[in-house]
Subunit: 327 residues, 2 copies
């Protein structure tokens, strides 16, 4: 039975119910679920003060459960970045821990990639959050089946690729590189700091929520002006959700942003990745080497699960598998 | 009579009336006002497409009026940064042009400082925008007198300092350095790119609008993690206006942000600068060498107007004065 710890590295949980519902559902899915002692801590808008959240992060890393699933995002990792024991996190991954999350967790995932360097100890998982995805009430739609199944299969090692439909015009594209990215605002919040990994020839995926297209464009142009976009082999855009139109837009939309970006960088920009602040999202290995293939309008991002599971050192394969199989 | 050109480098003007009202009022104040041919151009949310706005910027620089006052901010300069002829802008300043604005204009002001280097040709003016400050209807409060007078005196060369009240605890502080900064989001949007000036030992001023304190904190922490805050001699915070509380804040406020920042950097952080997206704002020379003095709770940021007016080369004093005196 795979152990799974729920912990809170960022925003406060307004209520305990979603976390408890998530714990029950994950238990029913076959995980041995533990809720970290400080998961419900409260300090202003944070799930405990900085020391509390940092201690929780390090405690989970020391315990090294099969899966470390963040309760929610919000805001909080930025305050911890300069204090995180990256080697401790990397060691937990080498011992088999799958760190899963998105949104504010992007800072943890990319900070690790920047500090621990590419390799088995720096692979984490862009995927669901406990409260938002497994704690969603039945009235609000319950657990998304695609999100759940993709998470389960990625954790067990059965999943080796995610697929989606994109726009016409990329038929035949085939690239290999490091998969990285996450929440666009969070990626940009690392620019100019030592916490941004310097990935060349990678596959960069991005999503965001509550951001008007002009802000999405400004962030993407900053990545371009910083040399990041041109240095990638492909860019996969996820969902940019929950923004509100302005009377000043006059026809300026997300499509305008993508068109403009395509006019400034030659790196292929694919849309349609099912990832972001939406119910249906894939789970993918951040920091792993992937192949991105396009056939007509079908995109496949594939990885070798032995590599994604920290198996770049061969003797570790079995050990990792043992920890990674749920149920 | 000082010539003053109104032009639109960024967001579209929803209506022509505020610009025309601003032109009438600035004429009444003694300026010879010209409205750039493309000031009312429209392309989606922009005041004309990129080529139109870039041409306007270069046209104004070539004409080199006494004052180049932006109609409004919004979003748009980010798209132009890689294409601006910085030497042309710098030459206009050496010929006597005062480039004035704030908000999105921060990108122009700091980009110039980064590309043209410190010196007489890189000094611009953080101050009012035409529509927002001189085009405000009587019903909405009309023109703010402090903003108007400070602008007039700064343009004429009569103003050599701005003063404000800050919190207790900084009595006796005295630093000298380059004044720079502007809109926090825009400063951060330059991080990691060649358009961020590398100012050491400076006086950094910052403001923002519509940004929740946690986003202000995230941006300030990014500046810290990028080494920018520690490299300054002082930081002056202006107004952070028009943000909305969240039920998740639980006591987390702008004060929390300032306290947290003071716990991570030893650079003095002064609050109370009258600058931002508010009616009352000072006009100050970006890129000029200033002295910041604190006596009890009174702060004075002073500059030598001969230097701020491009007079670092002595033979230029008279020439500049001639152009800079309004009326």
């Amino acid at each position: 039975m795979t152990s799974l710890t729920l912990y809170s590295p960022a925003g406060v949980l307004a209520k305990a119910a979603p976390l408890k519902l998530a714990a029950r559902r994950l238990t029913a899915l076959g995980f041995e679920v533990q809720i970290d002692a400080a998961a419900l801590a409260r300090h202003q808008r944070f799930a405990g003060d900085d020391d509390t959240r940092l201690a929780a992060l390090h405690r989970v890393a020391t315990q090294a459960p099969g899966i470390a699933l963040a309760a929610r995002g919000g805001y909080g990792l930025t305050r911890l970045l300069d204090r995180i024991d990256w080697k401790l996190i990397a060691r937990s991954i080498e011992r088999g821990t799958h760190w899963v999350g998105q949104s504010d967790l992007t800072a943890l995932q990319l900070g690790l990639l920047a500090q621990a360097g590419l390799g088995a100890g720096a692979i984490t998982w862009a995927g669901p959050l406990a409260c938002e995805d497994f704690g969603r009430s039945i009235d609000a739609g319950g657990v998304d089946e695609v999100t759940r199944d993709c998470f389960l299969e990625a954790m067990s090692g059965a999943l080796e690729a995610v697929g989606f439909r994109t726009e016409a015009g990329f038929d035949g594209l085939e690239v290999r590189g490091t998969l990285w990215g996450g929440n666009l605002c969070m990626v940009n919040s690392l620019l100019g700091t030592k916490h941004l990994p310097r990935i060349k020839g990678g596959v960069l995926f991005l999503e965001d929520v509550n951001e008007h297209p002009y802000r999405i464009e400004r962030n993407l142009l900053q990545l371009h002006q910083a040399g990041v976009l041109d240095a990638q082999k492909a860019i996969a855009l996820g969902e940019f959700s929950a923004w509100r139109k302005s009377p000043l837009d006059r026809g300026y939309t997300l499509k305008t942003v993508v068109q403009h970006l395509r006019s400034v960088t030659r790196t292929p920009i694919l849309t349609g990745l099912p990832f972001g602040h939406v119910p249906t999202k894939v789970t993918m290995p951040v920091g792993a080497r992937v192949t991105l293939l396009v056939q007509q309008r079908d995109v496949l991002i594939g990885w070798d699960h032995r590599h994604a599971d920290g198996g770049q050192r061969d003797h570790r394969h079995d050990h990792v598998h043992e920890h990674a199989a749920p149920g």
